[in-house]
């Protein structure tokens, strides 16, 4: 093979190297802001688009392989670009393009690190994620994986003067590293032996036994779950995302979490030569718990970025539900259904990439305009920053899973997959399904609640602080970035069929079936997963009808009556003064959820008594798992190290006794 062919894989490699080069270029003039924001970042965005294009091209071709003369001597870097990688690469490219452009408008001088350093870390982050998607051996995968963790860690802690940020970064990297070791051990089980860690070999190797296969799967679930924020390994997520600069949180939440999904899919459906139905059930259950947990905690947050972080946990849970269904279906050889569930999961991945990036970027703009992250001090921004507000509305509706936007498509597909489970030959599963479906439906409804809270409190109503009136709208670059993602949300929502067709190649690769043909059965306008009479949904018609009606009604009203408007004071219900502080707050929105789902939360309230000199109300809502799992573990470690410390009491006699005893024991043992 000639050194360079013009095939997608080579282009992808080129982009990876190019991103690294951009990062290094940032170090040439580390403190020159314009150089970074007006030259490097936009170019990086273009590279992202190219990457996406190459990936789309690759989805239809069959897998390409390439070996680089790097890595371990017996294990040079193997790269492979197949449909699955291509799909995730496309997601990365498209999302990162928007984020990069936004970042070039967002980056300020004097904040955090020097622009050049940030540029380096940012592009390393992008490159490592791309590398993960094309890695075809355990070593390269792990290298890229940890590089991603490391670069994102540096981005998270870019404001390291703040102690909270530091501890967040620490927690993040710690959990990431432990998870990585889990993945590494998983590869240890899957390997071909004799230092052969190529995925090609892993595909061929039969697991030693059912037990070993299960070990491998559980290790993978643990390792990738730690990165994805799967319960109970989610604690780093709501800490790290708010700490990071918004574009970084956007990428971490929108794309980085998906690398974990990618890895799980890769191991489960591609590398691991075993299928056990209860793996799927386990994943499904974990996914459900995660989703519900995430959305409930999102509902009670008072910090907008934390809220979005928890909502990310929820969405990851939803994706895992899809994967769990797929695994179960495949274990029962129901490939078409597995394909459907998988499509739902993948579609939700890319949806989440778009609307979560969009919303995190929005929080970035709001943050820059107001220096406020706390929902309790925002409000009424739709007046001062209309562009951001309207683009945010799209993201909000999308993430709330409302038709005709993209969030709804994946939810719809997932519910369809659920409604088809009665086909399963296992009656217990059939019993579980309604409950699972119910929980899922509840999650969707709650996410609507959360998003109304988010948007309403941030953008609507009256400004809760005086300074908010002075908030400026986003700048040019930022607008472009937001617009790019918003358009993505709309297109994904309105024209899902082409993408689902594309996904066909992925599902064929993973579960040997695709719903492509049945989808196109009744034209590109309708999604019909199985058959038109079973279920069909056409977002485009949906949108058109509503639009037409709205237009018609508008014209009729204007025509027959009039469009006269007078402005007046709001109806005060007889209360003489109504201040902005009297609006319903984020706290207030959370309160009913707290009341109803009390057992999920660990709530510390201080309610003033009538006799308080200085009465105040305070309510802290915390994660029970932190107290049930993490603190005990860390305490146990401390206690253990305390005991071990006794070994070293500084007395040389004792030390001599150690050596002596060791010698005697070994001698006795060796005879």
């Amino acid at each position: 093979m000639p050194w360079f062919e013009f095939i997608p894989l080579n282009i992808v490699i080129g982009i990876i190297l190019f991103w690294i080069a951009l990062g290094v270029a940032g170090l040439i003039a580390p403190s020159n802001l314009r150089y970074v924001t007006h030259a490097l970042l936009p170019v990086g965005a273009v590279a992202g688009v190219v990457l996406a294009a190459a990936a789309f091209a690759a989805m239809t071709q069959d897998a390409a392989v390439r070996v680089l003369p790097l890595g371990l001597p017996d294990l040079p870097f193997h790269l492979r670009l197949d449909a699955l990688s291509a799909f995730f690469l496309a997601m990365l490219g498209l999302a990162s393009a928007g984020v990069s452009v936004f970042y070039s408008g967002y980056l300020r001088a004097g904040e955090d690190n020097s622009p050049g350093l940030t540029c380096l870390q940012f592009h390393l982050f992008l490159a490592s994620m791309a590398a993960i998607f094309v890695a075809d051996d355990g070593y390269l995968f792990m290298v890229a994986w940890e590089t991603m963790a490391l670069s994102s860690y540096f981005l998270v802690t870019s404001n390291h003067r703040d102690a909270v940020t530091r501890s967040a970064g620490f927690l993040y990297l710690l959990i990431a590293h432990v998870g990585a070791i889990g993945i590494l051990l998983c590869f240890g089980v899957l390997q071909g032996g004799g230092g052969d860690y190529t995925f090609a070999t892993m595909r061929l190797v039969e697991p030693a036994s059912q037990a070993w296969a299960t070990v491998a799967y559980l290790l993978a679930l643990f390792g990738f779950g730690a990165k994805a924020g799967l319960l109970p390994l989610h604690v780093w997520l709501p800490e790290a995302h708010p700490a990071a600069p918004s574009p970084v949180s956007a990428l971490m939440s929108g794309v980085m979490l998906k690398t974990a999904i990618y890895g799980l899919l890769r191991v489960t459906f591609d590398l691991l030569n075993a299928q056990v139905w209860w793996w799927g059930v386990l994943t499904l259950a974990l996914g459900l718990v995660t989703a519900l947990f995430g959305v409930l905690f999102a509902a009670v947050q008072t910090d907008m970025k934390r809220l979005l972080a928890y909502s990310s946990i929820e969405n990851i849970g939803i994706v895992l539900i899809g994967i769990g269904l797929a695994v179960t279906f495949r274990a029962f050889d129901m490939h078409a259904l597995a394909a459907l569930a998988l499509v739902a999961a993948l579609y939700h991945c890319i949806n989440h990439a778009f609307f979560k990036c969009l919303l995190f970027l929005v929080t970035g703009s709001v943050l820059h305009a107001t220096n406020e992250r706390s929902l309790g001090r925002l409000g009424g921004l739709i007046h001062s920053m209309p562009v951001v507000a309207w683009l945010a509305l799209i993201g909000t509706l999308a993430i709330a899973g409302l038709p005709p936007l993209n969030g709804f498509v994946s939810e719809w597909l997932l519910l369809q997959a659920f409604l088809l489970t009665p086909g399963l030959p296992n009656s217990y599963l059939n019993m579980l399904v309604p409950v699972a479906a119910a929980a899922l439906a509840l999650t969707f409804a709650l996410s609507g609640y959360v998003m109304v809270k988010f948007y309403g409190v941030v953008f609507l109503g009256q400004p809760r602080e005086e300074k908010l009136k002075a908030a400026h709208d986003a700048g040019g670059f930022e607008r472009v970035g937001l617009l790019w993602l918003a358009v993505g949300c709309v297109l994904l929502g309105v024209l899902p069929v082409p993408i689902i067709l594309q996904l066909g190649t992925v599902t064929t690769q993973l579960v040997g079936a695709s719903i492509g043909d049945s989808v196109v059965a009744s034209g590109w306008l309708f999604i019909t997963p199985i058959a038109p009479e079973r279920a069909s949904y056409s977002p485009l018609i949906f949108l058109l009808v509503i639009a037409a009606v709205v237009l018609l009604v508008f014209l009729l009203v204007r025509g027959f009556y009039h469009g006269r408007v007078r402005r007046g004071a709001a109806w005060d219900c007889g209360f003489p003064l109504q201040t902005a502080r009297m609006q319903d707050t984020a706290e207030g929105f959370g309160q009913p959820i707290k009341q109803i789902f009390e057992l999920f939360f660990r709530i510390e309230r201080h309610v003033p008594t009538p006799f308080d000199r200085a009465p105040y109300y305070q309510s802290r809502t915390e994660d029970r798992l932190w107290y049930w799992l993490y603190l005990p573990v860390s305490r146990a470690a401390e206690r253990l190290s305390g005991w071990i410390g006794v070994l070293q009491r500084g007395r040389i006699h004792i030390y001599l006794i150690y050596s002596f005893a060791t010698l005697i024991l070994l001698l006795a043992f060796a005879r």
């Binding site: 119910a438 509840l442 079973r534 219900c573």
Partner: protein, 314 residues
């Protein structure tokens, strides 16, 4: 093709135009039951007309979202009206959205209403919005569960197929459907701001939900809101009818049968309206935090319906 479009238009317009009448009928029934003098069947129409003529008064703080919301909500309801097989199945639009999408439409409308309510930034608007969402996040999954039971029976989520299978089948008892029906009624009451969840006739802000949200609306905006609400109620009744007493719904384009179908529908609606009025008369409004329990019950019944389906009917 033309026929299909025509029949679609016919049903949609029927639903949209008859909705206020249905409201009027319910109000009348309730008035009679409560020994009040009835306002007359056409009162809702008069109200709408009056409202359309007035000048709109907007709060100083109202954004364009506030002004758009009524149109969008109305649009959603019209779409819903054209999806649900009120008198006819196999309507062209019906393929654009199935049962799940229908729930989606209602959710869309609700979210916009809540957002609009929060837009002004008065205490009561946002309070109403919160309560509405509180009711919603329980009612919505409950409705989904209700719809899933027939969906599982008919192996399909498209309303057409559901109604068709349920309608054409020889008379058989579906215990699961019974659960679903009860749950559905509860959801209907909650979603349409009826007693015991909300009181459409109240004028005490603190107890309002729906009224609190549209407190700031006036004139044509208010009219559209009210009308949309009426359509929603109508559609809900229609869904209930279509699912639980689906006899007499005809396939699209069969014009000769259409009048019959319409009459049947009218009869059913009368019954349903009466029933609603009775329910609202005999029961009292609950405290807001009893609502979750009420809807949780509905949710539970929905799930039970599905379970019983798996247990007994397969």
């Amino acid at each position: 093709m033309i026929e299909a479009i025509l029949s679609q238009l016919f049903q949609t317009l029927l639903a949209v135009l008859l909705a206020p009448l249905m409201l009027g009928w319910i109000n009348n029934c309730r008035a009679w039951l409560q020994n009040k003098s009835a306002p007359g069947l056409l009162q809702p129409y008069r109200t709408l007309r009056k409202l359309f003529h007035k000048d709109a008064v907007l709060a100083h703080n109202a954004s364009s979202l506030f002004r758009m919301a009524p149109y969008i909500i109305f649009g959603c309801m019209v779409l819903a009206a054209s999806i649900v097989p009120v008198v006819e199945t196999n309507l062209p639009f019906a393929y654009a959205a199935d049962a799940i999408a229908l729930v989606g439409v209602f959710a869309l409308a609700r979210v916009f209403m809540a957002l609009a309510a929060m837009d002004i930034g008065t205490a009561f608007g946002s309070l109403g919005a919160r309560r509405e969402m509180l009711v919603a996040f329980l009612a919505e999954p409950a409705l989904l569960m209700v719809l899933f039971t027939p969906a599982l029976i008919s192996q399909s989520t498209s309303l057409n197929t559901m109604v068709a299978t349920l309608g054409q089948r020889e008379f058989a008892l579906f215990p699961s459907l019974a659960y679903a029906a009860v749950a559905f009624v509860m959801v209907l009451l909650a979603e349409n701001a009826r007693i015991p969840i909300d009181n459409p006739a109240t004028h005490l802000e603190l107890t309002m939900i729906h009224e609190a949200m549209i407190l700031e609306y006036s004139a044509r905006h208010l009219a559209l809101m009210e009308w949309a609400a009426a359509i929603k109620l109508m559609i809900y009744c229609a869904i209930g009818i279509a699912l639980f007493m689906p006899w007499g719904i005809v396939a699209a384009g069969s014009w000769p049968l259409l009048p019959v179908a319409t009459l049947v529908l009218a009869a059913k609606l009368l019954v349903a309206g009466g029933g609603l009025a009775v329910l609202e008369t005999v029961s009292a409004k609950m405290r807001i935090f009893r609502a979750p329990e009420f809807l949780g019950m509905a949710f539970l019944l929905g799930v039970l319906g599905m379970l019983t389906h798996f247990l007994l009917e397969r």
